[in-house]
């Protein structure tokens, strides 16, 4: 039993079969990559996983509970955190404030909406936020306007914000898209470090094979809306079906 179980998921957009009979099981405490050529249905699958799209048939269970039809904040409260293709951070706020908000949201081990009576908590929350920033090597940037930072720093901050809530599953949607090589490598190092230090499941959707093969423990190849193969990176590398899907028949 995996922590995330996708069963018989089908999704049609008009005449297009975006997802056809997808079965996927992501095991706890692994890094699972989902790859595939353009139009393979990776983004649709991700949107189904986080409950944003409701599939025509099938089920998506996280730790025994269905995620379908839930609001995004409820899904986050279940323990699924999401990192977006373009970093979604609070651009108008400082880096420190960015980090304070997720810690405010999940304090004392539970999600809490109440902020009015939280003034006494504020000091501890600032301390915690600064602590997380130090571990990300961003402490010197804490009063920066977060929108003014580089793409790599924004990504770092976003991942840090997600992790500060101790999620059980971290979903990454092309985490290195549009990044310089140095930033990409930094991000890979950060994710490796997270994998080593924490009990966390990471699902990653990625184009960049360098990123995939440096991180993943399991890889699912998606083609034309259906999983083609699922295996370890070593076996995927030389798999004939994968070559065919990526390069076409002639290869």
């Amino acid at each position: 039993m995996g922590i995330l179980e996708v069963k018989n998921v089908n999704k049609r957009f008009g005449g297009l079969q975006a997802l056809g009979n997808v079965n996927l099981s992501i095991r706890e405490n692994t890094v699972h990559a989902i790859i595939g050529p353009n139009g393979a249905g990776k983004s649709t699958l991700l949107n189904v996983l986080i409950g944003k799209l409701i599939p025509d048939t099938g089920s998506v269970m996280f730790d025994g509970q269905s995620v379908l039809g839930r609001q995004s904040y409820e899904i986050c409260q279940m323990g699924i955190s999401r990192v977006f293709q373009t970093p979604e951070i609070f651009g108008d706020l400082t880096v420190l404030e960015n980090m304070m908000i997720p810690i405010f949201a999940r304090r004392d081990g539970a999600f809490q909406m109440n902020v009015i009576g939280a003034a006494t908590n504020e000091k501890t929350i600032i301390e915690q936020a600064e602590h997380v920033l130090e571990s990300l090597n961003m402490a010197d940037k804490r009063y920066f306007h977060s929108a003014s930072m580089s793409r790599g720093d924004k990504r770092r901050l976003e991942i840090g914000m997600c992790l500060s809530q101790n999620p059980r599953l971290l979903l990454l949607d092309e985490p290195t898209a549009g990044m310089a090589r140095a930033d990409t490598n930094n991000t890979i190092d950060l994710l490796k470090q997270i994998k080593d230090e924490r009990d966390i499941t990471i699902a990653i959707i990625e184009h960049d094979m360098h990123v995939v093969f440096s991180l993943a423990e399991r890889i699912t190849v998606l083609a034309q809306g259906s999983p083609l193969v699922e295996d370890t990176p070593d076996k995927i590398k030389g798999h004939p079906k994968v070559r065919e899907a990526y390069l076409g028949e002639s290869a």
């Binding site: 609070f90 304070m100 908000i101 949201a105 909406m113």
Partner: protein
């Protein structure tokens, strides 16, 4: 001090000083001089300055922090006004119950409208609030003023009649709005040489409430709640993926700003016990948007400055008529005089909107941060620092003190 950091406390002191000394500051020209018509230090106008200041401060809590642009805030102003006059009719002329009831009713009203309107964001939210405000206007103007059930007294406007119950009224109290016997219209006049200064009870009551409202707004801006509201404005998606439902926060902000508007409406009735439906019209809603943007959206003092500027234009610029213009240009030869008057004429008097509009365009293009940004630029000229550097310095100063 008072839970504020040094900068905010200084700002509060400045606002207290401005409000307290307004009768002096707004009357810089001696009586009878040519410039005396630019004096704004008479009770009626000073009351408007602070009351609309409260209105704009409240609006800024919603628009400045969450970015939700409400086009229907005048509805809450109107509800507040009607509530206050009803208290005059039923209980008597003491303003306290009226002001309290206007905050309460507008809060309930804002909750009901907010629950529906906040289901949408962006332009749809604006249109929904506008629709609700126009419905409220229609209700107040005609529907709720039929002989069987006369809540608003329609076109005439709600006012106190001699046959109203006024249960708590007694003969020893003034027959006008008063604060525990102290008439709102009581004015102390002070002659200092050629200058005349007026100290009005109604004005100082409004000013004290405005300072309190301003203090509360600073506390909201600097609180974790304020931070959450700024987070909603900055990135709603990330807010939801942080496990937070943004709706309760925006609804709370909407209700708070509605209560500010209701308070302002109540005070308008307290200084002049007549409430008309036109206070709810969409032009009044648009005016508070202009005030906030002119002064500086999302800044603490901006809305107060913006409302002051607009009310000054409305009341002072509109009084400059052709005969005043002729007296200004009388030093020119006859033909030139008429020519200058013709040129300036469209921009003053009834044309004051034109000047205000042009000013608004200039400010939005060159100072998107409003008058506050203008102030920062001027400060930058003296200190030699750019705005960004100042903002960074401010952040460094203010955040650890929180």
């Amino acid at each position: 001090m008072l839970g504020l950091n040094k900068r905010d406390f200084t700002l509060l002191l400045i606002v207290i000083a401005l409000a307290g000394l307004a009768p002096f500051l707004l009357n810089p020209f001696p009586e009878g001089s040519a410039m005396a018509q630019f004096n704004a230090g008479y009770p009626d106008l000073m009351q408007k300055f602070v009351i609309y200041g409260i209105f704009a401060i409240g609006f800024n809590i919603l628009f400045g922090l969450t970015g939700y642009l409400s086009f229907g805030h005048a509805a809450f102003l109107g509800v507040g006004s009607y509530s206050c006059v009803w208290m005059f009719k039923l209980l008597g002329y003491n303003v306290m119950p009226g002001i309290l009831l206007s905050i309460l009713t507008s809060g309930i009203f804002a909750y009901l409208i907010g629950v529906v309107s906040l289901r949408r964001s962006g332009i749809y939210f604006s249109i929904l609030t506008l629709a609700f405000a126009q419905m409220s206007f229609a209700l107040a103007y005609s529907v709720l003023s039929n002989p069987k059930f006369n809540l608003t007294n329609g076109e005439t406007g709600l006012q106190v009649y001699s046959n109203d119950p006024q249960w708590l009224h007694s003969a020893d109290k003034p027959d006008l709005p008063h604060l525990f016997g102290l008439s709102m219209r009581a004015t102390h006049e002070m002659q200092l040489g050629a200058w005349e200064f007026q100290f009005n009870v109604g004005y100082y009551l409004c000013a004290v409430i405005m300072v309190a409202a301003f203090y509360l707004s600073i506390r909201i801006f600097r609180s974790p709640f304020g931070m959450m509201l700024r987070a909603v404005k900055s990135n709603n998606t990330r807010m939801y993926y942080t496990g937070l439902n943004a709706r309760p926060y925006t609804l709370a902000a909407f209700v708070i700003s509605g209560m500010y508007a209701g308070l302002a409406g109540g005070l308008l009735s307290a200084v002049d016990p007549l409430a008309g439906a036109e206070r709810m019209q969409w032009t009044a809603s648009g005016e508070v948007v202009l005030m906030t943007i002119l002064g500086g959206t999302g800044t603490l003092i901006g809305p107060v400055l913006g409302s002051g500027l607009i009310k000054y234009f409305e009341n002072i610029f509109s009084k400059i008529n052709d005969s005043v213009l002729h007296s200004w240009f009388s030093f020119l030869p006859d033909g030139m005089e008429d020519f200058m008057v013709t040129i300036v004429h469209p921009f003053v008097g009834k044309g004051w909107h034109l000047t205000l509009g042009a000013l608004f365009v200039l400010i939005v293009i060159f100072l998107p941060g409003g008058l506050v940004q203008g102030g920062q630029k001027i400060r930058g000229l003296f200190t030699g620092r750019t705005e960004a550097e100042q903002a960074a310095a401010d952040a460094n100063q203010s955040t650890p003190a929180e």
